[in-house]
């Protein structure tokens, strides 16, 4: 059972989209929490802060970074870390999370979550960066497992072992993206259940669920793309139930960033997750 100080309620949450600001404030839907991408709110003023401030008064908040580049070979961007600190100060989110990935090289920002070689030098660097984040922000963070399309010949760890070691060394928690587990398992011919069971599930502070796109590679094999642009797949719902059986109820985000449907469609997916969380609550 989760015993880390991550304060999101064990309910389903939704990504807060600017298109839904007014509807959320107007109808005050029964949603466990909202999650925002930190970088979208790194602006001086205007409607984004206006609406997030009002919504924060009524809902728990998860601040999810997509630009810190924790896996960078170079140092972390201290300016960016300062901006994150200011947002955390302003909105007092219940959770802050980032990715096991890199997105910047030197001054160049690539706007994608890029894969890492799982070897000892990478492990040391990622742990140093997470230590720096947690000491600067004065709070533990959650680290999200990635969706990947390629592997590195240099890797000496399995991804689940690598993540377990990062968590053991830094004391951060796990943001378990179940869609990413499924996407990576298909793309690398792995067993998603074995992957999940190899993770330190007692450190999970949040779960992400999302949809993927289907493609094929040069051999015509299934290649799944984590595009956050579709409803959650049956296989991912099934994996989610497998996770909940082991963790008990955990705050669960329905992630949708592309092909955005009406708020009611996302709310229906949140209700589906809430039902499974309710069931997990009854069992635990």
């Amino acid at each position: 059972m989760n015993n880390l100080p991550f304060g999101l309620p064990p309910r389903a949450g939704l990504g807060l989209k600017t298109e839904h600001f007014r509807e959320v404030l107007g109808s005050q839907p029964d949603i466990g929490f909202f999650e925002v991408h930190a970088e979208n709110y790194m602006v001086a003023g205007g409607p984004f802060h206006h609406y997030l401030g009002l919504i924060r008064e009524q809902y728990p908040l998860s601040l999810h970074g997509v630009g810190l580049s924790i896996g960078s070979q170079g140092p972390l961007d201290s300016q960016h870390l300062k901006r994150l600190g200011a947002l955390i100060e302003r909105y007092q989110p219940q959770s802050f999370s980032e990715h096991l990935a890199w997105s910047s090289h030197g001054p160049v920002f690539l706007n994608d979550l890029l894969p890492l070689a799982y070897d000892t030098p990478t492990l040391s660097r990622v742990c140093e960066h997470i230590d720096q984040v947690q000491s600067t922000l004065k709070r533990p963070m959650l680290l999200e497992n990635p969706a990947t399309y390629l592997a590195f010949e240099r890797s000496t760890f399995d991804e689940a072992d690598f993540i377990s070691e990062v968590i053991r060394r830094t004391g951060c928690g796990l943001l378990l993206d179940v869609n990413n587990v499924y996407v990576s398992s298909i793309n690398h011919q792995g067993d998603p259940l074995a992957y999940i069971d190899a993770l330190p599930l007692h450190t999970v502070g949040e779960i992400h669920l999302a949809g993927f796109a289907e493609d094929t590679d040069s051999l015509g094999d299934r290649l799944l793309i984590d595009d956050h642009g579709a409803p959650i797949d049956h296989a991912v719902w099934a994996l989610y139930q497998h996770v909940l059986e082991r963790t008990g109820p955990i705050a669960t985000l329905i992630e949708r960033d592309n092909q955005l449907p009406a708020f009611s469609v996302l709310h229906a997916e949140a209700r589906q997750a809430d039902e499974l969380l309710q069931f997990a609550r009854g069992r635990s």
Partner: protein, 253 residues
């Protein structure tokens, strides 16, 4: 070259091959897998530009816009994780992009869209009420030393084209028919409450507002601008909540 340096270079330049040391578990060609990352990077950045410059996109069509954005991207990778700032100099690129030369007003439309984005996210500031402003302006003794502080979102754009009319026509699906495209316009852009507003103002009013932004006292700012209707311009600034402070700059004896 480090692994990430090679990876980053190949993401940004489609002419480069997938970096060495990568493989697919099923034995598939790593290039076909690397293409997913490259496509994510390229399409997300082009989408970011399309989101920031919707009217530029409508003016040239989606296919041309995406081709132009892909060329911009080759020489202008983002330098910050704040992706809203990506393409802040896109107008300058468009200005010198020869294939867009047949749409001479395109760069100024991009400038207007960029100023709207800046105004949307600019710092908040409490405007003075018409009553507060009226009371201050009623004292002729202090008028000559009065400086006017304007809302941080307030921006000006001077164009040799009918840039506001062209932009406005794309807000409600109307055409450019009837617009004298070569009729230069002075644009005033500001955020009033939560909404960004765009106006055409007189050339003298634009110079006056520029003088105010440079810190000139009210009377001097008006007198050093070409002829314009001061009363109407002040009324417009007041009614759109653009005046945030009035200062008396008393000259020491």
């Amino acid at each position: 070259m480090s692994t990430q340096a090679a990876f980053a270079a190949a993401l940004l330049d489609p002419r480069l091959n997938c970096p060495k040391g990568l493989f697919s578990t099923n034995g598939a060609d790593p290039d076909s897998r690397f293409a997913v990352y490259r496509n994510n990077v390229q399409s997300s950045l082009i989408n970011a530009l399309a989101h920031s410059y919707p009217v530029v996109g409508q003016l040239v069509g989606d296919e041309f816009f995406r081709a132009m954005a892909a060329i911009y991207l080759l020489g202008n990778a983002p330098q910050s994780p704040l992706i809203k700032d990506y393409g802040h100099d896109f107008a300058d690129f468009i200005q010198s992009f020869e294939p867009a030369g047949s749409v001479p007003y395109l760069a100024d439309v991009a400038r207007l869209e960029r100023l709207r984005t800046l105004a949307y996210h600019a710092a908040d500031a409490q405007p003075l009420s018409p009553e507060q402003i009226g009371a201050t302006l009623a004292d002729p003794q202090t008028l000559s030393e009065l400086t006017v502080e304007l809302h941080p979102s307030l921006k000006l754009l001077t164009s040799a084209f009918a840039v506001v009319s062209i932009w406005a026509a794309h807000q409600h699906n109307s055409t450019l028919a009837g617009i004298d495209l070569d009729h230069g316009q002075h644009a005033l852009i500001l955020r009033n409450g939560l909404d960004v507003e765009v106006f055409v103002i007189e050339p003298g009013a634009s110079a006056f507002i520029q003088n105010l932004q440079n810190g000139q006292p009210l009377i001097q700012a008006a007198e050093s601008a070409p002829a314009f209707d001061l009363g109407q311009t002040l009324a417009q600034l007041i009614s759109h909540n653009a005046i945030t402070h009035l200062h008396h700059n008393k000259v020491s004896p």
